[in-house]
């Protein structure tokens, strides 16, 4: 096996080493402005959170009940170092690209990585999502106030240096609430979509693989749930089983997951139907592999690409759904805030204090947009037809 240096693609002019000084600088200097700006934005986040959080690290870390060590700030500090490591790794990789053998260069993984790296809007989405996830992880370091503490400032104060997004009618800091609310919104998005993907993949694969009565019954159930307006169904379930406190958040995640698996099930079913005709499944059968093994080791992994794309797009729509539920007062129970709850809080004082509803809504739009861009990028990069 000869190692082939793909000089044209893995070109690293010496100037890319500027990235080691400040991640993103190297990319920017060789004209890769999306990577450059994206990384620089993450740099700003990294240094900003260090400036805001580290001087008061003691009080942040021991903010638990009666001065005990709280878990979230510890996670935040660990993530801070993780983010720094990731940023400098990306910068270092740009300056010292891997030398790939021919075989590696043509592997599916490398083709996908190259396609994704070249996809402009997809990379914008990826940096947007990375920014959001880092932001939620670093929240305890950044947030200037306790999100549920009332009267940290004057009531309904306009945005200022003390309160970058103003305060609400209880004198709570909107910026801090927005940061902490994002954690819940994003967590609900990720967990609910994981549940969606698990249920959908299992049922879809089952329907496609078993066929016959099982298939027809499952597809009937899919059609039935698709005919129902999802928000109304969710409202009904949440309204009937009203649960308070942290359990309410888990209930919402589970219910959203359990009522939105139909799309995944249809995709996986059609994939399995076409895959099971192919030679490698015949071979697996001829080798005498068990049904379970064929299903979980051979069929499902090969059907995953469109599911990943669907999930990335579904996180956006799940966040919209959760926001809608919370907006109607049937979502996450108080005092926890999510972006939907905050828009609802801003509804009554809309005329006098528009900042309360405006900023969380903008946050929702930007988050959903990032996930949609990422999903589009993943679809293009994973689609073999476009290569």
């Amino acid at each position: 096996m000869t190692a082939i240096v793909q000089t044209s693609r893995f070109d690293a002019p010496p100037i890319t080493r500027a990235g080691l000084l400040l991640p993103g600088l190297g990319h920017l200097l060789v004209g890769e402005w999306i990577h450059g700006v994206g990384l620089l934005a993450l740099d700003v986040l990294l240094f900003g959170s260090a400036l805001a959080g580290f001087p008061r690290l003691g009080s942040v870390l021991f903010s638990g009940p009666s001065g005990s060590l709280a878990i979230h700030p510890v996670v935040a500090v660990v993530s801070w170092f993780g983010l720094a490591a990731a940023l400098w790794f990306v910068a270092w990789r740009r300056a010292n690209p891997r030398v790939l053998t021919d075989e590696e260069y043509n592997s599916n993984r490398q083709i996908f990585l190259r396609q994704m790296n070249r996809h402009r809007t997809g990379m914008i989405g990826l940096f947007g999502v990375s920014f959001l996830v880092s932001l939620t992880l670093l929240t305890p370091l950044i947030a200037p106030y306790d999100p549920i503490a009332i009267e940290v400032g004057p009531q309904l104060a306009a945005p200022s240096w003390q309160h970058p997004m103003g305060t609400d009618d209880y004198g709570r800091d909107v910026f801090s609430r927005l940061l902490y609310g994002g954690r819940i919104s994003l967590t609900i998005g990720f967990v609910a979509v994981t549940i969606t993907a698990t249920i959908g993949t299992t049922l879809g694969a089952l329907a496609g693989f078993a066929g016959g009565v099982v298939d027809r019954a499952l597809m009937w159930l899919t059609d039935l749930l698709l005919a129902l307006p999802q928000l109304v169904l969710l409202l009904t379930i949440v309204g009937l089983f009203r649960v308070q406190g942290a359990k309410g958040i888990f209930l919402i995640m589970f219910i959203i997951g359990a009522t939105s698996w139909m799309g995944v099930a249809r995709i996986v079913r059609s994939q399995v139907l076409s895959l099971r005709q192919q030679d490698f499944i015949q071979a697996a059968r001829a080798l005498g592999l068990s049904t379970q093994r064929i299903l979980f080791r051979h069929l499902i992994p090969n059907a995953m690409a469109p599911v990943i794309v669907f999930c990335s797009l579904a996180i956006g729509s799940t966040m919209l759904l959760e926001a809608g539920l919370s907006f109607l007062g049937l979502g996450v129970p108080p005092p926890t805030s999510t972006w939907g709850v905050m828009v609802n809080d801003g509804r009554d004082p809309l005329r006098h204090a528009p900042w309360i509803a405006t900023f969380p809504g903008l946050a929702i739009v930007l988050a959903v947009m990032s996930f949609n861009l990422l999903g589009d990028g993943l679809r293009d990069a994973l689609d073999p037809k476009l290569r």
Binding site: W220, L221, D223, L224, L226, A227, L228, P229, Q230, L231, V232, L235, T236, I237, G239, L240, F241, G316, L320, A323, G324, F327, L328, L330, G340, V343, G346, R347, L350, R351, P354, A357, T358, G361, I364, V365, L366, V368, M369, N372, L373
Partner: protein
Amino acid sequence: MTKYIFRKLLLAVPLLWGVITLIFFLVELTPGSVADKFFTPETPPEVRQMIVAKYGLDRPAIVRYALMLKNLAFFDFGVSMAQERPVFEIIRDALPNTLVLSAVTMMIIFPTGIAVGTLQAVRHNKLSDTGASIASLFFYSMPSFWLALMLQLFIAFGWSGFIEGLGARGVLSDDTVGLLVLPSSGMFDAVGQFTMTTGEQIVDRLKHLILPGFAMGLASAAGTARYMRSSLLEVVRQDYIRTARAKGLLERVVILKHAMRNALLPIITLFGLQIPYLFSGAVLVETIFAWPGMGRLIVNAIYTQDTPLIIALFFVSTLLVVLGNLIADVTYAIVDPRIKYD
């Protein structure tokens, strides 16, 4: 064709049964009996018994389930527990309002979406295409309730001040100012309508429709534009379009007469899929704009745990979804002669 429609309608029966059964058992599964939700600890036992007897709540669940199915088969929805009125009357009052709003929304979604998508495809990869793509993604990612609030803020509250400012400086005439300022909630001017002529009342109602219609429709219009763009781009690549261009036809004729016909086909399917989304959107937008339709009814029914009303609302919405899909299927068959149902 008639046979196809008939068969589709027949298939709707098990679907409706499934929906009703699902909702009924969801209600039954909730902690506490249906009756408990209406009693406070102070309710005297005699009153409790009267209420229980009135709604037949003392019978076992399976009997009530059978009774409900029998009643629903004859479109008898029972009596609302919270409003003490027949459910049929309540829905009869609310449904037309939602249908009007949905019709206006559809009139915003499809023409806007198709026009923007077509323009984008024609100017593929030009600056205006990229700009419109970003704009449509922005609106596509926007929660309808937030858009509704922003429309209220900028057009009904804030911007109206801005427009009046323009009027005061003589940029706009007073008549134009009156036309631009839109009402922020309700279905008609509750106070002013008694002094209006019929024509003014119609204008007033239309003005009340604009903001909720946009709040409900803009995201879907952006989605339609995205869809239309990719659909038209796919059609434009085909050979018959090249032939049409080679014949020397005007580009406008090629796009509008040859390409559009085929590119519009998938949009018809979109129409059928739109209906459940419209209902979900109506829930949020009607709540904000105080629009007395089905969406607000559903929210109120859930807040008051009004079981008969909840079940009836699911029944009606499923029926509308089935009908909408049927209309889409039939239209598809009429427009595209390649499709044959039998």
